[in-house]
């Protein structure tokens, strides 16, 4: 027995879990970061979309036996489409409203959503039946890793890359960046911000749904989901700096790994570490790691 290699094995294992947890947080939160940054909308109800994604995945898998990749896509698409209706019908009205109104509005939305979720799905968490090819373990360099967690990590990085391409290299992305930087300016140079907002909102909600579905195996879809995990999403967004694209990625990795390692080494401090770290980080950089410092 070699204590050093034992420790290394433990750390690799923990780090792996930390990263996969981080990817779930990232995919859910990145949409919130963009909508908050661009529209300045304090959307506390972001978790509703993540929950919806999880439920859609669960229904697709359990009730209709739809293959897993299609079910993921269905979660993204259905929630995106539904969110367009919400954005046009409800959110758009509160773009100019103050922070407080937006807080109240989104809390109202959370209440309605969790009540509906409870009526439809009951009080228990929805079961997620993963396909066999995502179950079990994969051996890499002598370590066993759970296949699904590996999938989550790969998927998360792929999403991050795809988003980076979409925002940095496309015309749509250029518009989004312009609108995040300066909404009035974007409008004055002829960008249809109304449509841009709707599209971005749909993308952001769709990402949340995708993250909710991807993470459903860990953060089980249950009716009180939007309130239960709200704080974590907010932490990722605020530490990352809202309006930023890579901010949430780095913040999620930081929080995912720090949280996991912290719990491994100092389990007695429970949830302290993550909050203390958040306070420390925000005092050091009040606008988050990648937030606009104005």
């Amino acid at each position: 027995m070699n204590p050093v290699s034992d420790l290394a094995a433990s750390l690799i294992s923990i780090g792996f879990y930390g990263i996969s947890y981080a990817m779930i947080l990232y995919v859910i939160s990145v949409g919130l970061s963009i909508t908050m940054g661009m529209m300045g909308f304090v959307n506390l109800a972001h978790g509703v979309f993540a929950m919806a994604g999880g439920f859609v995945l669960s229904i697709c898998l359990a009730r209709y036996g739809i293959p897993f990749p299609l079910a993921l896509a269905a979660a993204f698409l259905s929630v995106s489409v539904a969110s367009v209706a919400l954005e046009r019908g409800l959110y758009a009205r509160f773009y100019g409203a103050g922070e407080l109104t937006q807080v109240l509005f989104s809390i109202g939305l959370i209440y309605v959503a969790i009540a509906l979720a409870r009526l439809e799905f009951g009080t228990q968490a929805a079961p997620i039946m993963l396909p066999d090819y995502l179950k079990g373990q994969v051996k890499i360099l002598g370590h066993d890793f759970p296949t699904y967690r590996l999938f989550v990590i790969v998927f998360g990085f792929a999403i991050a890359f795809a988003l980076w391409i979409a925002i940095e290299k496309t015309r749509f992305g250029a518009f989004v960046r312009a609108a995040v930087d300066n909404r009035a300016m974007a409008q004055s140079i002829g960008i249809d911000t109304r449509r841009l907002f709707t599209l971005t909102f749909a993308l952001g909600s769709g990402m949340a749904a995708l993250g909710g579905a991807l993470g459903a195996d860990v953060l089980a879809p249950q009716w009180n989901y939007p309130l239960e995990h709200l704080v974590y999403f907010l932490i990722v967004v605020s530490v990352g700096g809202f309006g930023s694209l890579h901010g949430p990625f780095v913040a999620a990795l930081l929080i995912g790994i720090a949280d996991t390692l912290g719990k491994y080494w100092f389990p007695e401090f429970g949830a302290f570490l993550i909050y203390a770290a958040t306070i420390g980080l925000l005092l050091w950089r009040p606008h988050g790691l990648f937030g606009a410092c104005s």
């Binding site: 433990s10 879990y17 373990q137 239960e228």
Partner: protein, 401 residues
């Protein structure tokens, strides 16, 4: 000048609106009112839902046994979770406004503690349907418990585990029930010659157990005792247990029955197979009384729903309430009702023979060793043996000594 006149009007309306909600009206003297304060919303909504369903089912099936003309009215109130102030307010209103003769409920210990002084002041019998901290029954002479105490399952589990496994690790949620079961397990396990090689307390709402389970894996115990809240947290733990290879490493997962609730098994995956628990009830127990109970339940609420501990608590409590009503011939007097409760016995409860300890007013019941197995493609809690018969609350027993 603008005068803001209407606020006053609105206040008046708001408070006047209250009056409309107060009209429960006069009822015939022969209606026995039972107030249930439990949890029907929030993460623990199962607590109240199952108990009340069982109480209603019992009432429906046994209505003919009541003295002629006597009816039962259940007044159900939601405390929303561990909210002692809310629970107290609801109980107080049930007592002073609705004039309930019997109180039942309390999913959470703090809620039970908040209601206890009211039960004493109003001399209203208060039947505990879930809260499991030992101390609860000492808070009022009008309390009788129909659920369980944490130590009732954890202590026999410890003694049993010590006989089969040399070293143990405990992992519990860092809140009352978790700490109670850790304490009871640890002392019973050590007393029977086992060695605890490590323990960790985790935040109650933990979903990702990898870091904690890695610690367990590092310590290489023979057996891991866990207590975490039922539902997705327990599911998450078992997933992690398999994913991190603890199961393959030959570590045995045991715990109080709360970690594999009957109603949640359908949502758990095969990782739960082999989990061994000690509990006072299983929906799959083959006692005739239980089979009848489950059959009646599924006939009423559908075959997709399971009976569980909350249901059996509600069922037995309703049986006791019927005895109180029958003994008083339709009249409920607090002190007399307590006498009935203290001598309450039922050899034929779905969970086996139970009684109320006249001294502590705590439940006396059997504890069963169970294992999660797959039967016809579904997970079930299969009772293997009765490892404790007519067990009193071990904590109170110890305090006496």
């Amino acid at each position: 000048m603008t005068r803001i006149k209407a606020p006053g009007l609105f206040f008046a309306l708001a408070f006047a609106g209250l009056a409309m909600f107060s009209g429960s009206g006069a009822v015939s003297a022969q209606t026995i009112k039972i107030g249930v304060v439990s949890t029907f919303s929030g993460p623990a909504a199962n607590f109240g839902e199952y108990s009340v369903k069982a109480m209603q089912l019992y009432e429906k099936l046994h209505a003919s046994e009541l003295p002629a003309g006597v009816k039962i009215e259940l007044l159900v109130r939601d405390d929303g979770g561990p909210n002692p102030d809310k629970a107290k307010q609801l109980a107080q209103e049930l007592i002073v406004r609705d004039k309930v003769q019997i109180l039942a409920g309390a999913g959470f210990t703090p809620n039970a503690m908040a209601i206890a002084p009211l039960a004493t002041q109003a001399k209203t019998p208060f039947l505990i349907l879930n809260a499991g901290a030992s101390v609860v029954t000492t808070k009022s002479p009008y309390i009788a418990r129909f659920s369980f105490t944490m130590a009732q399952s954890a202590a026999p589990l410890g003694s049993w585990a010590a006989k089969k496994y040399k070293t143990a690790f405990t992992l519990v949620a860092d809140y009352g029930p978790g700490v109670d079961s850790e304490t009871a397990f640890t002392s019973a396990y050590s007393a029977s010659g086992g060695t605890i090689v490590g323990s960790v307390r985790v935040p109650p709402m933990t979903l990702e157990y990898a870091p904690f389970l890695q610690r367990v894996k590092d310590a290489k115990p023979d057996v891991l005792m866990v207590f975490v809240p039922a539902g997705k947290t327990a599911t998450g733990l078992m997933k992690g247990f398999v994913d991190l290879g603890l199961k393959d490493a030959g570590i045995k997962l045991v715990g109080p029955g709360d970690i594999v609730p009957d109603e949640e098994l359908a949502n758990m995956d095969d990782g739960a197979i082999g989990v061994t628990t000690v509990y006072h009830y299983s929906a799959w127990a083959d006692r005739p009384a239980n089979k009848a109970f489950v059959e009646a339940w599924q006939k009423e609420y559908g075959t997709s729903t399971q009976t569980n501990t909350f249901a059996v608590s509600g069922w037995d409590a309703m049986d006791a309430i019927f005895q109180i009503i029958k003994a008083g011939n339709g009249v409920v007097d607090g002190d007399k009702a307590m006498e009935v409760l203290k001598s309450y016995k039922d050899a034929n409860s779905p969970r086996g023979a139970i009684s109320i300890d006249p001294e502590t007013r705590d439940i006396v019941q059997n504890e069963y060793l169970r294992e999660v197995r797959k039967v016809d493609g579904k997970l079930e809690n299969i009772e293997l043996e009765t490892i404790a018969t007519a067990l009193k609350d071990p904590v109170k027993d110890q305090m006496k000594k």
